[in-house]
Symmetry: C2
Subunit: 498 residues, 2 copies
């Protein structure tokens, strides 16, 4: 296994990672709410945990990676058809939340594919675990940590606080929270403003509702993750991750629910990814600087100068530590594009080149030792709370060495075969397997363009030499393969295919 | 709307399609069980309903298309860890059915993408509707159509039969069924051998189990579709589809459950797709002739001569009526490949060609009338229970006309602009939108191969002529673009790219 250390948001310390049941690791990540398109900030979070999952697997762990889909929403039927839609006659004409869920789930999976994010090993849905949530509420009521009122159930934070610590994750103070609370939803029913809903009674206008011991209703927002992480990973598991914005109240409430219900906090290590800004500003729809993942890929957004491959965007993410705020802008995207190409070119060079290396008996040269250190340090950086930024810095240094070998500034006789093998292994492991980057497209149409240019030049030469047999032959042979040459007005020759 | 007629398996008649709430249409299709890879026969079924869904949409209907995922299985933990796994310590080490569900759901979606099948508008899961299934059972017990025994609940077929007709879909006789029944599962508990399980009590070894009024257990196989079709489409909806093999007992039981619970049969039109054979034999794993969709795409199966595009396989499906048995073999695949190419080439020709057509005042020529009839008949064929085979026959006739126009055998002066427009519209509508076929890949690597061959031939000529300036130039120019030429032992020249 590895010597991995993780910054634990719960203890605010960088700690050695010791799985409960090594080599098994349980990882839970809060997934998307599928009522709208995931924005690029969400994708940064999911990319970060994809890298973390990949590195855990690469380090030899057997990871059960659970990432949920939040599909239980509180949509109401605004046209007041809540009552009627229970009748079959109105079914097809009324809003069906599960159509919205399906649309955005399909869209989310498509974006994950584009960013080459591996699917989790289990992808449970909130609506698929209503029974489990109800059972958890029953236990919380029984233990005195929840109370029902008017068909809703609330978590009793003050009762919990008597023998636990609400605020353990976020560091918030319960009295200050009560003083500052402005949430009016269910306020009159709650014992304390800080109490949060486990189950909400539904009015007929609520489209998604289920039968429960407290009447028709729907689960509170925080409960699903407690129910699903417990079901699939156990009362105690290793890592819980999510975006920084979920730390409070969502994750704080999760801990209270888990602890109150099972006597365990759930995850031992809490990991939070940081926010994404654009041009120094928080992305938001109202500021007009909110960019969807798909808009990066088309370049179809006023703030973008052109299209960027998902791999470039992901590479840009990885150049900053997952727990640091990341500001992206056009310059950063352009640099990431160049940087990724440089690393991928270096990988290709070292993969295919055949070097006349030193005799294995000659021992390690200084160059060998330099390469070895740069490669081995990558693992140390990753083990230091997944420091992808430093790994990339090393890969750049290594690519400079590779380019110098290619350019002849470094004599290949200074290199052992082991160094070449280590370079190959390092570039493949980090770029492809751990970062999940794909080689930039092997663009056959570019190759075709280049070969066609060779042919077009030959034909031009032949014409100049009045060797019309050859120039006609080129034209005719191409025509036979469905390729037409066209003499442009500016003297150049273009081609088109059938 | 359309003048669509559908063969209704329930009435055994071809009937005019009259939706309950036009223009809305409710369509339910039994989806995959995600405990193994979908086989190519399943894909034929899903392709057929994809075409049906696409044609309904094309005809102006607003379709709510529900296709479920069967993920509630009856897996047991064979190592006898059923008890232990309830403890958190064992969670990560025991089999988790939802990991299997996720693996095969992801795989199924990938195959659907390859075959260009549109996702349904709702894709509900059995595990996501345990509560709804329990509620349905309660109603059935209350109405006297079900009874509980030892923590299981069975549907009482004889009680139902007193005022309904079990066998209405399959035409089976209840007494013969009872006489011939050999299912031993729960036999001793049932009032009659023909009764089927709505809920099964779980032993600790059953991994997936839920709390119910009858104790811990899991739903019977048939119930999920009744619960989900009713929830999303209403007590009465338009079309229910599935493979022929599901007609009995699955669909027969669905009707009994719906009728017993809601007083409605559920769907008005039942549609069944027929089976797929290979080389005249039913595909099965034991016969070794079971081919997975992915194996068609790689050609990596002893019965296949080479790889076939998913579009070719789908085109082969569409050449036979969905309700007819289809036997596929190598010859059929090869012909389908040629046929699809012919139609796609014709589409490309008519799409891009500029014809010198007749003056619009000249009236319709015979050729115009012939084209019009062939195009308009396509719609009639589709309205006749989705007769894709006849549509394809017409498209072949139309492609012959297009080729004759291209070849000059038909004078374009015989054609009106309207005919050209109609041809374009027809080829696009049927090939792309209704059949969901994608243009065969514009294979740039093939083009590259061909152009490279032209260059290699030129170089050979130059060598023969001892024009080494040219032959060297070709080699060097290519090398500069990263393409290496290699003289093979057999005298041919190959190339490779960096």
């Amino acid at each position: 296994m590895s010597d991995l250390h993780i910054y634990n948001s719960l203890t605010r310390l960088k700690e050695k990672f010791v799985p409960i049941h090594a080599p098994n690791v349980g990882l839970y990540v809060c997934g998307p709410t599928v009522y709208s398109d995931a924005h690029i900030g969400n994708i940064r979070t999911f990319s970060s945990f994809d890298m973390i999952h990949r590195y855990l697997v690469h380090s030899g762990y057997k990871v059960r990676y659970v990432r949920n889909i939040t599909d239980a929403g509180h949509l109401t039927n605004e046209r007041g058809e809540g009552v009627n839609r229970m009748e079959s006659q109105a079914k097809l004409e009324s809003l069906e939340p599960m159509e919205i869920v399906q649309k955005y789930t399909v869209g989310f999976h498509a974006i994950c594919d584009l960013f080459n994010l591996n699917p989790p090993t289990i992808e449970p849905t909130a609506t698929g675990h209503i029974l489990e949530q109800i059972e958890m509420i029953e236990v919380l009521i029984q233990k005195g940590y929840a109370y029902s009122v008017n068909g809703s159930v609330y978590f009793d934070v003050k009762a919990y606080q008597e023998n636990h610590n609400y605020g353990i994750l976020s560091g918030r103070n319960i009295d200050e929270l009560i003083a500052g609370y402005r949430d009016l939803d269910g306020q009159e029913e709650k014992k304390n403003s800080i109490d949060f809903a486990l189950w909400k009674a539904a009015t007929p206008a609520h489209i998604m509702q289920w039968r429960s011991p407290w009447g028709m209703g729907f689960p509170g927002w925080h409960l699903e993750c407690s129910a699903m992480s417990t079901k699939y990973l156990g009362n105690e598991f290793d890592i819980h991750g999510g975006g920084m914005d979920l730390k409070f109240p969502h994750h704080e409430c999760e801990i209270a629910q888990n602890e109150g219900c099972t006597g365990h906090q759930g995850a031992r290590y809490w990991m939070h990814t940081n926010m994404l800004n654009f041009n120094g500003q928080k992305m938001s729809k109202s500021l007009g600087n909110s960019i969807l993942p798909a808009e990066f890929l088309t370049g179809n957004h006023p703030l973008l100068d052109k299209a960027y491959s998902p791999m470039v965007v992901k590479f840009l993410f990885l150049q900053t530590h997952y727990s640091s705020e990341l500001d992206i802008n056009i310059k950063g995207l352009q640099d990431a594009e160049k940087g990724l190409k440089r690393l991928m070119d270096a990988r290709k060079e070292i993969l295919h080149a055949k070097y006349d290396v030193q005799n294995t008996n000659d021992g390690k040269s200084e160059m060998d030792m330099q390469i070895e250190k740069l490669c081995i340090d990558c693992k140390e950086f990753m083990d230091d709370d997944f420091n992808t930024a430093r790994v990339i810095a090393n890969l750049f240094e290594l690519s400079t060495i590779i380019n110098s070998i290619k350019g002849g500034q470094i004599n290949t006789k200074e290199l052992s075969g082991e160094s070449v093998a280590l370079l190959r292994k390092t570039f493949d492991a980090y770029l492809l397997h751990i970062f999940g980057l794909q080689p930039l497209e092997e663009n056959n149409s570019t190759a075709l363009d280049q070969v066609m240019q060779v042919l077009i030049d030959l034909r031009k030469d032949a014409k100049v030499k009045k060797d019309f047999a050859t120039s006609d032959k080129i034209r005719n042979e191409l025509a036979a393969k469905g390729i037409q040459l066209k003499d442009e007005k500016d003297g150049t020759v273009s081609y088109s295919m059938n």
